[in-house]
């Protein structure tokens, strides 16, 4: 129990430190939301608007950084993430609430699928080492090194078009209203296919490789030889003995990768105009939108920490050895 309290204290500390850094680092950057807005419009917005914008954003009274920091924590404890500048006056919480499901669904599901497929292929390649499956490796290595935005852009160019099944952008058909019905869901799926494939292709190989290596390592363990000696079917040895054990180290990697869902795929969402959080984060970064940035960073921080916790727990569940008391 003391251990758990320690872990929790540790996580709280990490969260605090990360949030604090996330507060201060962006504020070291010159410029402010108003200047960014003006620059963004490049002439579409008259310089006369500057004053009104400062008033609008509430940036006209100059508060010290420290006072802002204190305010930020006060707000945070009230569950208030503040108002976004880029999307003024939308509350940050609403923006995140709108975008997060998209990211979680697209990247999250893709990550899961990628992990499943990659692990499956990795098990296969590791078990059948020396057969044709070794030919998978160079291909997967190649794809794991391709920048995925590059892949995405090429996919858009090659696969989308006026008559193509694949839409080039967006999360769903623009004339639809999100609802759980027979029009919306297929449309959302259709829109997520290409980005999902892109992420899949460039991330699946990582899982294949690590799983394969683990399989190779585990295959030479004594208990595998014993399993063979016991005359078990090849399937059972491969799945229940080798793969089951080889999976363990990958589980924590998987849990952590779930934590990086938001932070990791900014560009896919941009390339595909996908209405997710990564895309919004990039806009917030460009616009010096501190409240929004902080809100998203908070989400990332929490999700990484939760993923860490999950990794711990998953290990505890899957590896009986760690369940040992004492």
């Amino acid at each position: 129990m003391k251990y758990f309290l320690q872990r929790i204290a540790f996580y709280l500390f990490t969260a605090w430190a990360a949030i604090t850094l996330n507060f201060f680092i962006p504020r070291l950057v010159p410029g402010d939301p108003v200047q960014s807005l003006i620059a963004k419009f490049r002439g579409q917005l008259s310089t006369e608007a500057i004053n009104s914008l400062y008033v609008l954003f509430g940036l006209d009274d100059n508060k010290g950084l420290w006072a802002q920091y204190v305010d930020y924590w006060k707000q945070l404890f009230q569950g208030d993430l503040g108002l976004s500048f880029t999307f003024f006056p939308s509350p940050v919480a609403d923006i995140i609430g709108d975008a997060l499901p998209w990211t979680v669904l697209l990247v999250g599901i893709t990550t899961v699928i990628s992990f499943l497929i990659g692990t499956g292929l990795g098990v296969f390649a590791g078990w059948r080492r020396g057969s044709w499956t070794d030919g998978l490796l160079p291909v997967t290595t190649f794809f794991s090194s391709v920048p995925y935005f590059w892949l995405g852009i090429i996919a858009i160019y090659l696969l989308t078009g006026p008559d193509s099944f694949f839409p080039s952008s967006g999360g769903f058909e623009s004339s639809l209203v999100p609802a759980w019905d027979q029009y919306f869901i297929p449309s959302a799926l259709q829109h997520s296919l290409l980005p999902a494939l892109t992420i899949l292709i460039s991330s699946v190989s990582g899982w294949i490789l690590s799983m394969r290596n683990m399989m190779v390592t585990v295959s030479s363990e004594d208990y595998i030889t014993v399993a063979h000696a016991k005359g078990l079917s090849e399937r059972r040895v491969a799945v229940s003995y080798a793969a089951r054990n080889a999976l363990l180290p990958n589980i924590s990697g998987f849990a952590l990768s779930l934590g990086f869902i938001v932070g990791g795929t900014l560009l896919v969402e941009i390339v595909f105009s996908y209405p997710g959080l990564g895309f919004i984060l990039l806009q917030a970064l460009g616009a010096k939108d501190y409240p929004l940035m902080q809100g998203i960073f908070l989400v990332i921080t929490i999700s990484v920490l939760v993923a860490n916790l999950l990794a711990d727990l998953a290990y505890l569940l899957l590896d009986p050895r760690t369940r040992k008391e004492g």
Partner: protein
């Protein structure tokens, strides 16, 4: 629950043979629901649909800025000679989409709203008294508003008093169910886009034939470009590199690009406090060698920033009416030899490929602009090679946008491509470049303009005179004076004009403004959109 799905009518739509909607796109990234017409950050503003819901008092054609304004919600506007007051007669047949009648009270309320909320008064208009007499609103101002007349009359969305007076903070309200006087009402807002449907009753004008407007905000220019090429967008304003290849050729019959210039320009600002660029002769020579045609064709894809030909920096078309008599017909000529001669006469030496100033120091210049602005970057690359022809070694720097912005404002730059403000007269252009009132010492941010720290009392005086003039003659005199200073002193090298055009497809809808009939600008986010939409007809009818 499928029956009450908000999408159920979509199934019917799909089956219809004729298209009764228009797909409009903008490359403005994610949008969150905000239909507040005053907020610059609102989705209504970013996508432009606020002008389909709310209307201005008059319509003004930026392509022909000198033409008189078209009455819109106002049946007439009468400015005092000194432009310190105006009388607005409000149309009496307009109704709000909730059925209430639009009155002069609403107009007065709107002006009062701006007056009392600095946050909403984006053009910083110095309102004074606002009074109502019957259907006439009389507005007075603290200073003459000649140069701002269109911002007041043609760019202020009129909002219903009976709704807005209940809103506690109009600056931060997202105006969830917008009630306006325009031809459309909001149908739905989703992350994928906004849909407006045409008003079935109560609109004062002809009801547009486009039954539904579907707005989509794309992540960036590329996505928007792809959407245009695919036909996912029928109307947009976006920079298309090589529009022929990327857009027009995809459907040459219907895909069109129209980009008329307006009174707002882009050019190379020179920091006039830095030696040797404080030397007028040097600046003139540099100005002479810039190859504006190359920039137009290579950096601006032959359309986006229409090439500025007049030495006054005024764009073709929109600016023609304002060019001073002495500069009529005088055009930039990309005259390397002339520039060399000029430099020689001013004591500069060109030995081999290096130009030295009279003190013997080689002339070098740093050009800077943020990297993501690829047309500026391309322009700088071209300018760099142009300068090399007269022995000036230019280097291109690509600071981060914020850094660049700060550098430009505080005067910590040597030369930079930037835009000017735009307006109904050339005043805004010249003010941004030369106004001594905006002059700030190096190191202090000059937010409003005069980034090059150009010090010219004549220019400042002429600009003030123009703004406050009470007669057209006085204005013309002042404008000629302003242009003279601009041409002779070359404080900034104009390159291209802003455009108010669009990329569109007339596959489904025709009636767009063209060179032949430039009845308005064509950007889908400007006040004149309700004017355009009213003229669109189904292509196959």
């Amino acid at each position: 629950a499928c029956g009450d799905s908000p999408n159920s009518n979509n199934a019917n739509n799909a089956n219809k043979s004729s298209v009764d909607f228009l797909k409009i796109g903008m490359p403005n990234g994610t949008q969150t629901e905000n239909h507040n017409p005053f907020a610059g950050t609102s989705s209504a503003n970013a996508l432009g649909y606020k002008w389909m819901i709310y209307e201005p008092l008059t319509q003004w054609n930026p392509v022909r800025p000198a033409e008189p304004a078209i009455p819109w919600l106002a049946s007439g506007v009468k400015w005092a000679d000194d432009y310190k007051s105006a009388e607005v007669t409000v149309r009496d047949n307009a109704t709000w989409s909730d059925g209430q009648k639009l009155t002069a009270e609403d107009v007065a309320y709107t002006f009062n709203l701006l007056k009392s909320n600095e946050a909403l008064n984006q053009n910083a208009i110095p309102f004074d008294q606002i009074t109502v007499a019957g259907n006439v609103v009389k507005v007075t101002f603290k200073t003459p508003q000649f140069v701002n007349q269109n911002k007041i009359m043609a760019s202020t969305p009129i909002v219903p008093k009976h709704i807005w007076e209940k809103i506690s903070d109009p600056a931060t309200d997202i105006n969830k169910t917008p009630v306006g006087s325009g031809p459309y009402t909001l149908k739905s807002f989703t992350q994928a886009g906004v849909t407006l449907s045409v008003r079935t009753e109560g609109y004062w004008g002809t009801v547009p034939q486009v039954k539904e407007l579907r707005y989509v905000s794309y992540a960036d220019n590329n996505a928007q470009g792809t959407a245009l090429a695919n036909g996912d967008s029928e109307w947009s304003f976006v920079f298309l590199p090589n529009p022929k290849a990327t857009f027009i050729d995809k459907d040459p019959e219907h895909h069109k690009v129209w980009a008329p210039g307006v009174l707002g320009i882009h050019g190379l600002y020179i920091n006039t406090t830095i030696k040797p660029f404080d030397d007028v002769k040097l600046r003139q020579a540099m100005n002479m060698v810039i190859n504006r045609t190359d920039i137009f064709t290579q950096a601006e894809a032959s359309y986006f920033h229409p090439e500025i030909k007049s030495v006054t920096g005024l764009p073709p078309g929109a600016g023609d009416a304002f060019i001073a008599p002495e500069y009529k017909g005088k055009e930039f000529s990309n005259d390397v030899e002339g520039a060399k001669a000029l430099l020689q006469s001013a004591g500069y030496k060109l030995n081999g490929k290096v130009l030295s100033d009279p003190s013997g120091k080689p002339v070098k210049i740093k050009l800077s602009d943020p990297a993501p602005w690829s047309d500026y970057q391309t322009s700088l690359e071209i300018i760099k090679s142009n300068f090399a022809e007269i022995g000036i070694e230019a280097t291109v720097e690509k600071p981060n946008q914020d850094v660049w912005d700060k550098n430009v404002q505080t005067g910590a730059f040597e030369a930079s491509m930037r835009w000017t403000n735009g307006g109904a007269t050339p005043y805004d252009i010249y003010q941004t470049v030369m106004d001594g009132d905006l002059l700030k010492p190096i190191g202090t941010a000059a937010q409003q303009g005069n980034f090059g720290r150009f010090k010219s009392p004549e220019a400042t005086a002429a600009l003030t005179a123009y703004k406050n003039a009470t007669s057209d003659e006085a204005r013309t005199t002042a404008m000629n004076q302003i242009q003279k200073v601009f041409v002779e002193q070359a404080p900034m090298f104009p390159v291209g004009a802003d455009n108010v055009g669009a990329a569109y497809s007339d596959k489904n809808w025709t009636g767009w403004p063209t060179d032949e009939d430039p009845y308005s600008g064509a950007q889908p986010t400007q006040p004149y959109v309700s004017l355009i939409i009213g003229k669109l007809k189904p292509a196959n009818s």
